[in-house]
Amino acid sequence: MNPTVCVRCKGRLWCGLNKCPIIETARNTLPKLSLSGDSIFGASPPSVFVGKKGYPYVYAGPLISEEKVPFISTSELFGMSLNDVLSSTATLIRTAKKVNVRKFNEKIIEASQEIAMSERSVDTEIWVEKYYGGATVDEFFHPTGPRIQPQKIVVAENPVIPNKVDSVIEEKLKAEIAIRELYFYGYDVDYLQRLMAAGVMGKSRRMVPTRWSITAVDDIASRALLKKVKQYDTIDAVEYRYAAYMGNEFHIFLIPGSWEYEMLESWMKGSIYSGGWSVGVGDYEPYSGRKNYADNVTGAYYSARLGVAEYLAKIRRQAKIIVYREITSDYKLPLGVWVIRETVRYAMRLKPVKFSSIEEALNAAKTKMHNAEWISKSRILYNLHHQRKLEDYF
């Protein structure tokens, strides 16, 4: 294994192996859950998982808990200890049946869609065909409990679908427009993500793998916010914030000027994917935005961008943003990009330390960093350092 590849790939199997050895090792540390019988009855939080392996033939189905619903939105998990997160997510049984993402002829798809559209938990009964046990971890989605193949699935309760959501779905708007509209209306990104995954939105309806739909929603919502943000005046001083959660340490810099965004990561020795090495990666976008996928940082890039875009939209200002993430040896399991989104959101709620120059801010931040190598790799810092002003030529 080559850690410079692993920290970028994060389980996407670029190495050509059948299973990611890093993720498999992490999975095996998760608590195991056994089922109460051949049929299970419980509530879906509501939640739906759509796999991506074999696309367009993927494993998909709702998540169901036989115990009390542990959480509805991942934003509720923020602040919990690793053990608490794992014990609440481990109760979520993942039903999975192989379906074609474009053919809605299976009962399980209909059930998934009903559940996905609901704002509240939905009681569901499932007859188990096959029990796979184990647990699943993913870089994008929160961990889940054992996987089962359902024989029959019955939604035992009417889902609660808000009128607004119903009307947007009925209008058959393009998925991007529908998500934008519902996001500005105030719906949680997790809700929008499961609507997208379940394939109830858009002109040509299809299920979208959970992993892709998470990033798509983060991307669509933050781009919509940034369209507004780019109209606002710039902030007037450099702002620095620091927040840490689950072995993710964030150093966030806001610099006066027109919008630019960069996220850099250092995977420290001992963190997942990095092996015995420290590895750095980064992605950047200029004022005009980016046209291709942030392939080095991947989903975290978009989740963090949403966190800062929400803040800038709220204060009605624009800025150049550098998000530097250090992943320490405390990050042993991929927990999903909600960790990134919620930690950045939390950081942006903190009162910043203000500086008159980025150099001063970096000097102050260095005392908290394990590694300052990224500073020489940052495109925003390079450009700021090398950009002259007109008054240099008076």
Partner: protein, 242 residues
């Protein structure tokens, strides 16, 4: 102050200013209208001049008017490009008239808005190039990097960009350029996002007159309002190395 002009011309002026600022101080006098704006980072400046003849009707004393450009842009959305727009200053308000639509907006207090100083640059090289070639060079650069390097030699004008792996180059030899005057080759690198916004906002220009030095600001002159007015755009360089 009262003036009448083509909607298309005002749109172009507002779009050009909006590439750098959201508010601007317009200066009016008997001879015409002028406006200067510098972006918040002090990296770029635009100077626009539209003489009296560029208007359909024009009457003004020496006056300064602070205008919220986003609002004007919204007002212009109500008009078609073929329309004529009239605007009148009445006290602390500016009133626009398009056909039978009237729309008033408050002026911005200009006391806190300074008029930017224009640097006096001695730039040794000059080329006149078609806007279309320049735009191609900028658009090619945009997809690769955040910087673009411009070069004038006695025989050609060149724009190039290097990304981590990709390279883009637009090269115009002397015989494809309308005018070139250069003794020694000059070369500077500029932030591409500024130039992207600039070329998008330009509407009337067919040619750009570019003045450059080595590691010096670029000065770009071009027509506005269908050739009735002039614009000058200055952009500070990025210095390579160090």
């Amino acid at each position: 102050m009262r003036a009448k002009m083509d909607v298309k011309d005002l749109k172009e002026i507002v779009n050009l200013l909006l590439t750098l600022v959201t508010e601007a101080k317009f200066e009016f006098n008997q001879d015409g209208m002028g406006v200067k704006a510098v972006d918040p980072a002090h990296v770029a400046m635009i100077v626009l001049d539209l003489p009296k003849d560029g208007f359909i009707e024009y009457e003004a004393e020496d006056e300064e008017i602070g205008i919220d450009l986003d609002k004007v842009k919204d007002i212009l959305k109500l008009a078609s490009s073929r329309d004529v727009i009239e605007f009148t200053k009445e006290g602390s308000k500016l009133t626009f008239l398009i056909g039978n639509l009237t729309r008033s907006m408050p002026l911005i207090d200009t006391s806190a808005m300074s008029i930017p100083r224009v640097p006096n640059l001695a730039l040794p090289a000059k080329v006149v190039v078609p806007v279309s070639d320049f735009t191609n060079g900028i658009k090619a650069a945009e997809s690769i990097s955040d910087n673009v390097t411009l070069k004038i030699t006695p025989t050609e004008f060149e724009m190039y960009t290097e990304g981590d792996e990709d390279v883009a180059r637009v090269c115009l030899p002397k015989d494809m350029i309308n005018e070139i005057s250069c003794d020694e080759p000059v070369k500077s690198m500029y932030p591409v996002d500024y130039l992207v916004k600039l070329v998008k906002a330009m509407d009337s220009a067919e040619y750009l007159t570019i003045y450059m030095g080595t590691d010096y600001p670029i000065k770009i002159e071009f027509d506005i309002a269908g050739g009735k007015g002039k614009a000058t755009y200055l952009l500070a360089p990025r210095i390579e190395g160090e």
